[in-house]
Symmetry: C2
């Protein structure tokens, strides 16, 4: 893989597309969102374009705190680890970045699941480490409300240490399988952790041999200060919310400073901003597509979504009146990344309805709309300037926008030498240009 090649991941949370009401579109999937075949098709199309990976977001609950969620929002979905394991059996080259929470699972179980899928997929899985910041998730796990922000991130850090140690607990050469002597494993190459920390006590070793990648690729998403620290300390990829090339460059510089503190080189953490690409035969057609999606939005859903992001019930205020005072970021227990975006927009003098529709329609990431060349130009700029190592592609409407990008923009990037035309041999980690982690237990 030439160093000219950007990293591209096809993202989804809602299988109908990233626009919050894309499920209403005539060409969105209906009940097919529960069929493996639907995802197999998405994966095959992306694999045809030689994408690095599919990125699947996840929550441990549904969005129902505000009134409209249950009725109007496409809340249910498949669990992503089981989905990815099934997909890896039928789609042979592409990688999978899968979200899992450190707040409501046990490190032994999570380590095991990713190690196992790494074996099953022959080294193609990555873990998007999240801390589950929604109240709607906390209440499904014995709590009345969210764990506080600092504790969530502290737990995440310790969780990752334990998981990585479990992955290392069988050294690469531990399995001997010598039938005649009866030695299955070299005992000295299998390690107990005897971890005894603030949040976890785990003896180990894991009951899965070391994953083919050593460690599955670690992704971190979440742009609060604590989030960026976690990324700098622990991650291989950082999924960032960056609204302009300029902001991307500043973001990269900030991340590099943080990496240096941990003795890490800049190239060991790849920055993948999220973008919303819409491809059409002309700019105006792209705008029409977006306008049509926006027409599917309901005010009630928009306001309730804004309430969720703002951590404040806004439905009690006049719809066309100003946005009231919002919580302070530093003491907020929810998703600070989202709150920061809302606060930033709220300063622009929009009404609740206007702000709600803006946030609900385009989310938080830059819309990149236009012809294949225009979209490729934009990606090229960001990539060449160093504002991004690649992109997390958040398509408004699936499968259509996904397919258009793969068949129209990717070939343009390939012509420009900016993207691979064949998969290189090796694991996801190798293709991403990331080193295989040393085993923390090997002293030989």
């Amino acid at each position: 893989m030439s160093r000219q090649s950007m990293i591209l991941a096809g993202f989804f949370f809602n299988p109908q597309g990233d626009h919050r009401l894309s499920w209403r579109h005539p060409r969105a999937p209906r009940h097919e969102f529960l069929d493996l075949d639907y995802y197999r098709r998405l994966a095959s199309i992306a694999e045809g374009a030689k994408l690095d990976a599919i990125f699947i977001a996840d929550h441990l609950g549904i969005w129902d705190t505000y009134g409209s969620g249950l009725t109007h929002y496409a809340n249910p979905r498949l669990e992503p680890l089981s989905l990815v394991s099934a997909l890896s059996a039928v789609v042979k080259d592409i990688g999978f970045l899968v979200t899992a929470s450190t707040s409501y699972t046990e490190p032994f179980n999570t380590a095991r699941m990713f190690a196992s899928i790494d074996h099953i997929s022959k080294g193609r899985v990555g873990w998007n480490v999240v801390t589950s910041a929604l109240e709607e998730e906390a209440v499904n796990f014995g709590r009345d409300s969210n764990i506080d922000h600092a504790t969530r991130y502290e737990r995440a850090n310790e969780f990752l240490d334990v998981v990585k140690s479990l992955w290392d607990s069988w050294e690469d050469d531990a399995l001997v399988i010598d039938r005649s002597s009866g030695v299955f494993a070299t005992r000295d190459h299998v390690h107990a952790l005897n971890h005894h920390g603030k949040h976890f006590k785990v003896k180990g070793p894991l009951n899965v041999p070391r994953p083919p990648q050593g460690h599955p690729v670690i992704v971190q998403a979440g742009s609060s200060d604590a989030g960026k620290e976690l990324a700098a300390a622990q991650a291989d990829l950082h999924f960032a919310i960056v609204r302009s090339e300029q902001e991307g460059l500043a973001y990269r510089a900030d991340i590099n400073d943080r990496l240096a503190k941990y003795g890490r080189k800049a190239e060991s953490l790849k920055l993948l901003p999220g973008i919303l690409p819409i491809v059409a035969s002309s700019t105006s057609e792209a705008q029409e597509k977006q306008a049509y999606l926006e027409s599917l939005m309901l005010d009630e859903v928009a306001v309730d979504l804004l309430s969720s992001w703002a951590g404040t019930d806004l439905s009690i205020y006049p719809l066309d009146g100003p946005v009231p005072d919002l919580p302070e970021e530093a003491s907020y227990n929810g998703w600070r990344t989202w709150l920061a975006i809302v606060r930033n927009e709220a300063n622009k003098g929009l009404s609740i309805r206007q702000l709600a529709r803006k946030i609900a329609n385009t989310g938080s990431v830059p819309l990149v709309a236009g012809t294949p060349r225009q979209v490729a130009d934009e990606l090229e700029h960001w990539f060449v300037s160093g504002a991004a190592d690649g992109f997390n592609l958040m398509f408004p409407l699936l499968p259509e926008d996904w397919e258009n990008f793969m068949t129209q923009v990717v070939p343009e990037l390939q012509r420009r030498g900016l993207f691979r035309t064949e998969y290189e041999p090796g694991t996801l980690r190798e293709r991403l240009g990331l080193a295989r982690p040393a085993n923390r237990f090997s002293v030989r």
Copy 2:
């Protein structure tokens, strides 16, 4: 499916076979036990024979308390839920019974995983509910030792109630997906649990629609009194340790009495004793095969295994001396089923070495060795007498014994009209002759 048809499940815990040192056999898999292809082949062979299901056991730790485990025992393996999800994508008809613990997972996560795999597999998954009785598991989840027996089962019962409620939280008709009105789901058909019990507090609803089977098939294994009560209260299949046809009949009668207490009919809980089948062209060849496997056993492993089962370190006693006093079952926190078997055998006057080798070589279930006809005769007797609704087939050596059974015994059972020759349409639950559970939230 005619009522004449028995239920057959192909079991494994060790992917090399149920004999504890089968990995030493020249025809056992070596590193292939980490490849999906190995399991795909097993599954395809079983599917060719129209088996009901593959049954995968599981532990949340490795067997290393006694000295020999790490060196001589094939401890590591793939995680079964990820394995089954992948298999279901490539093998289209057979069912999957998968072990998961109620002691070291959260009901929301477990409900979700099984619901998701039930969608992915189109209604072919079942859950073997276990309580994780090993010390080696407890220490991976923040504990110094096992949770006590009664508490484990109490938690298991509540866990199952929560999981079943989560599966019911989206009624079958809740998803409307009406694009024009913008109604995705009928709000009144989606239910919060607001469960607040002794062990769990879970709001719900689940974020996966109701599984195709309503509830994935529930299996219970564990023959202590508490285990049988759990089966009678909650399960569809009971995986039993039964050493003779006579014992099977008594066991069935006992289970029927327990079912009656819960207002359930006998046919709502299927009894599947485990058996160890060895098929050969003559009885003496079958015996030779078993003798060869027994020759692979090491004394150290046998004694350590016996120590694990007995809950007492026996390596400190003379190998050829008598078995010392063992713990009382009623106050024992480990696997009471295994302890009961050991205590029963220990009364027969064997030395530690003799008992250890006996337990280690044949485990706890009856060996059914002989020609295809002889094996079929034995299964027919048990089935026709009502001592079993079918069998959990625990093959000493994989893949060989598995393949021999599927290609030699199954055709014999089919000729006798005792087993299906084609898959009936429908879900695993339907094929097993089990009713689809009513939704506990539907009052209409």
